[in-house]
């Protein structure tokens, strides 16, 4: 599998995501002006502050040529993983439901957290963001829960930002597009804290294969 990691002006975590993907397969950076993503099997939209995020986070990056290519890949069932700013971009692009608002504390927060994934899988992964409070209308949240579209929740008592229903990450209806606020690419090395993040990449790759 060849992973493409998007790079916008203002991306911060693209090299770390590239490294994480390279542990699972081939990986290359995709410059934001690349419209044609043929040859890429899976996409990571990485964290950072695309275009400075001086407007709403992700609001400008969604219009980049590369995101048109990502939308096509997503529609074709390819695995797409949005991390932090990437999650925000995917929500802005309408590829995932909901929106990310300012943290309840109104502060940026960086902390190692436990996430609960499918089948009560527990993962230790760092989160670091200022705009990570997941929001969607109640009926949308009900629908996400009913369809199994809540991909990750913060472990009880560890919700760092006031996200609705402790939601840390969601997936689209087909299951091949996943976004989450915490950073699995920063949990792929025991020396820096945890290797649990690899399971997030593996799960997205597998979901894409099924979609």
């Amino acid at each position: 599998m060849i992973w493409g990691v998007l790079q916008f002006p203002g991306s911060c975590d693209e090299r770390d995501a590239l490294h994480a993907c390279s542990l699972l397969g081939e990986a290359r950076l995709v410059w934001h002006e690349e419209r044609d993503l043929r040859g890429v099997d899976a996409v990571v939209v990485p964290g950072g502050f695309s275009y400075g995020d001086y407007l709403r986070a992700g609001a400008i990056a969604r219009f980049s040529p590369a995101m048109e290519g990502v939308a096509e890949l997503a529609a074709a069932g390819a695995p797409v993983l949005g991390i932090c700013n990437g999650f925000q971009v995917l929500c802005e692009a309408g590829l995932l439901p909901g929106a990310l608002l300012l943290n309840e504390s109104m502060r940026f927060l960086c902390r190692q957290l436990d996430l609960i994934g499918d089948g009560d899988e527990r993962l230790s992964i760092p989160a670091k963001h200022g705009e990570g409070r997941y929001y969607a209308p109640e009926e949308v949240l009900d629908g996400l829960e009913a369809n199994g579209q809540v991909a990750y929740r913060y472990a009880p008592g560890q919700n760092p930002n006031g996200s609705a229903r402790d939601i840390a990450g969601v997936r689209n209806e087909a299951g091949n597009v996943v976004g989450l606020m915490p950073h699995p690419e920063h949990a792929v090395d025991p020396l820096t804290g945890s290797t649990d993040g690899l399971r997030v990449f593996e799960a997205v790759a597998a979901a894409g294969a099924r979609a």
């Binding site: 991306s11 090299r15 760092p126 804290g193």
Partner: protein, 729 residues
């Protein structure tokens, strides 16, 4: 276009300095020239009160790749790689507008590091504020922490450590010192010296506006006063997105070998970068202000030359490579303009199109400023205030809790959780998990450790001993993670050097810095001096902030500072002989006075070596250096971090002449609190103190013995968030 002599005083030049300029120019300077001289001859740029002293510092070592005089210093870390680092102050801007002041402080130090071709890999910061019961201090703290986070987080460089102290003398004049480390291939590093007559000078990055005009002379080189609101326009506004693009652009240009030299635009903007590049290269430079991209069309030439607009870099490029350089700038959507040319005139000439609006010999502009001798005089007694906050007769338990809750000692999680500490995938030890930050370097197959420290209160008590302690504290922090020092950077934050007492503090501190660095064999590879840190109430505590970088062979072999397992033995290693002089307890009792015991550098160095070897060999479960609040606070920190109590007897320190309360709360260099197997500790020469275990911190100290529940201690130690929201005056 001559100017009246009153103008130079407004710009911070003395009458005799002005006369010297006239003599060196052979005529009176015009407005543009006077503005440029006033900046380059300011304390901030010319180091006119400190340069003579700084000559004492040892700057050479076999690992030094770049020393003082470049944008940042650098040391070799193996496999052809070097780590660049520097600390710099942004005190006065932060005291006027803390968010932008601190943010642009981070932006400036990042540019210093990537200006030599190193990719920034870590930020640390050293902050000082007044006591937290003041509204102003809480405002400055909140703004500075948000500003540091805003800039560093947005640009994707992890903030891995730092320190914050709260002391009354910083009430008006807070300190914001930021340190950055970068990694480069030694062969790809670039210097700032302009070279190649006829080469093109390219200005890259943001446009030039009226922000920050006169920052170096007006803000950084004079005391703060009551009317500082009016100085707000002299504080620069940061744009981390622009910096991120400029950073990537510069690193790509250097990787492609397209630049002859590179320099950031910091204090004094184009004036200092062009002047210093010309001086370093022994050449001249012509700058055409008509070619500088502006934010406001009607800017005067002098404004363009002195603007401190952020996120700008100046490069020298061979004419044939200019199109390639402009194409890379275009790719990164960052500005670029050919604004000048390298000449053989030995002059900096400022043009507006065809018209020459300024023409100055480089030698006069950059190196012509007179250097002053200090007139130091040791003050009688303690010259600062000291409010008592602890009543006489307070129990040992309550003293311990008061110390743990002291904002200078309490956990700084509230602050460091606002910073991204993990981006870059190098951070092996995050803040508070060990005494120094540890970053892995897969490129060279090893790791580096870094620590920043400087307890101004202790330096105020004794500038010589206190400064030596600051260096030893860093060395001890590095030893705790098994690292050997490679180099040191420093930021000397002092009051007005024209006052004899401050001059004495500065003189003592610099000679102590030289003595400690020489004795430890650690070269000083760069630094910064920030003087005139005074408010209406008087000077700050003299605050030499020391940043030390070391290396360790194996990042997997790093002990943490917290205890690990119940049943482990606890021991004390090192020549620790604590007293209450200058301690946090003395401060809270209102008992601060002049004088500290003189640290034994050689003995501390020997203890560092022994701890370093033991950590590398995996012989210790935990290591924590004994610092603020003494042994009792160090024990509490190790216990809180582990969630396990301890039972110890510190009466062994009686052999060293310590009273029970000195053993508990006394401070001084040279103490390592370690845990592990008792036989291992004893083989290392540790004094056995007790055992890890239980749910209380139990310390036998004769008539000052104490028992404190772990939860109670932790609540006190974690009280900083509540204190930052305090609603009093």
């Amino acid at each position: 276009m001559s100017v009246g002599t009153a103008k130079h005083r407004e710009l911070g030049l003395t009458d005799s300095e002005f006369e010297l300029i006239v003599a060196q120019m052979g005529r009176e300077p015009n407005v543009v020239e006077l503005a440029m001289f006033s900046l380059l001859w300011s304390e901030h740029c010319a180091y006119k009160h400190s340069r003579k002293l700084l000559k004492q510092l040892p700057t050479e070592g076999e690992r030094v790749v770049m020393g003082p005089g470049e944008n940042a210093g650098a040391v070799a870390v193996g496999n052809g790689y070097a780590v660049a680092f520097k600390v710099e102050s942004h005190n006065h801007p932060s005291a006027v507008e803390p968010f932008q002041g601190a943010a642009t402080g981070v932006g400036g130090i990042l540019r210093d590091v990537f200006a030599i071709g190193a990719r920034p890999i870590a930020i640390l910061d050293s902050l000082r504020f007044g006591e937290l019961d003041s509204v102003r201090s809480r405002h400055l703290l909140d703004g500075a922490v948000r500003g540091i986070g805003h800039y560093g987080n947005s640009i994707g460089v992890p903030n891995v450590g730092g320190e914050i102290y709260f002391e009354e003398p910083y009430e008006h004049n807070c300190l914001v010192n930021a340190m950055c480390l970068g990694l480069a291939k030694s062969a790809d590093m670039v210097r700032a010296a302009a070279a190649g007559i006829g080469n093109t000078v390219v200005l890259m990055g943001a446009t030039t506006g009226r922000d920050g005009i006169g920052g170096a002379s007006v803000l950084a080189s004079a005391e703060l006063g009551e009317a500082d609101e009016a100085k707000r326009p002299t504080v620069q506004i940061g744009d981390p997105f622009e910096e991120s693009k400029v950073l990537e652009c510069c690193l790509e240009l250097l990787e492609k070998g397209l630049l002859v030299s590179l320099q950031d635009l910091g204090a004094a903007g184009l004036t200092s970068s062009a002047g210093e590049m010309a001086a370093a290269g022994g050449v001249g430079i012509d700058i055409d202000v008509a070619r500088v991209p502006l934010r406001e069309a009607d800017m005067e030439p002098f404004e363009i030359m002195v603007s401190e607009s952020q996120e700008r870099m100046l490069a020298v490029v061979e004419p044939a490579r200019v199109p390639e350089v402009l194409a890379v700038c275009e790719k990164w959507q960052t500005g670029s303009a050919e604004v000048g040319v390298v000449t053989d005139t030995g002059h900096v000439r400022i043009l507006r199109g065809e018209e020459i609006v300024g023409d100055m010999p480089v030698a006069a502009l950059v190196d012509g400023c007179p250097l002053y001798d200090l007139e130091p005089a040791e003050p009688e007694g303690w010259i600062y205030g000291n409010r008592a906050t602890l009543a006489p007769g307070t129990s040992s338990e309550d003293e311990l809790l008061a110390l743990l809750a002291a904002p200078s000692i309490a956990s700084k999680r509230w602050a460091f959780e606002q910073y991204d500490s993990v981006v870059g995938s190098r951070t092996v030890r995050r803040p508070e998990s060990a005494d120094a930050a540890v970053l892995q370097l897969p490129e060279s197959g090893n790791a580096i450790a870094v620590s920043i420290d400087g307890n101004g209160r202790r330096v105020a008590c004794d500038p010589h001993a206190g400064t030596i302690e600051a260096v030893l504290e860093c060395a001890q922090n590095l030893a705790c993670v098994g690292a050997e020092p490679l180099g040191l950077t420093n930021c000397l934050n002092f009051g007005n050097p024209e006052k004899p007492a401050t001059a004495w503090q500065l003189d003592q501190a610099v000679s102590a810095l030289a003595e400690a660095c020489t004795a430890l064999g650690v070269p000083v590879v760069g630094g910064n001096v920030s003087l005139y840190n005074e408010g209406p109430e008087g000077p700050i505590y003299p605050t030499p902030v020391v940043g030390m970088v070391g290396e360790l062979p194996d990042p997997a072999q790093v002990a943490g500072s917290a205890f690990v397992a119940a049943g482990d033995a606890i021991g004390l290693i090192g020549p620790f002989s604590p007293t209450l002089a200058g301690s946090e307890l003395a401060k809270q009792r209102g008992a601060l006075d002049k004088g500290l015991p003189r640290p034994d550098i050689a003995a501390v160095a020997a203890a560092c070596a022994s701890v370093r070897d033991a950590v590398r060999a995996g012989r210790l479960a935990s290591v924590h250096d004994v610092s603020d609040g003494g042994l009792a606070c160090a024990l509490a920190e190790c216990a809180i971090g582990a969630g396990i109590g301890c039972r110890v007897d510190v009466q062994h320190l009686r052999d060293r002449g310590c009273s029970p309360e000195e053993a508990l709360f006394g401070e001084g260099s040279g103490g390592f609190l370690v845990s592990g197997e008792r036989a291992e500790l004893e083989a290392l020469g540790a004094v056995y103190l007790g055992e890890v275990g239980g749910g209380t911190i139990e310390i036998a100290a004769g008539d000052r013995s104490l028992v404190v529940g772990l939860g109670t201690a932790e609540s006190a130690w974690r009280s900083l968030p509540a204190q930052t929201e305090h609603s009093g005056t």
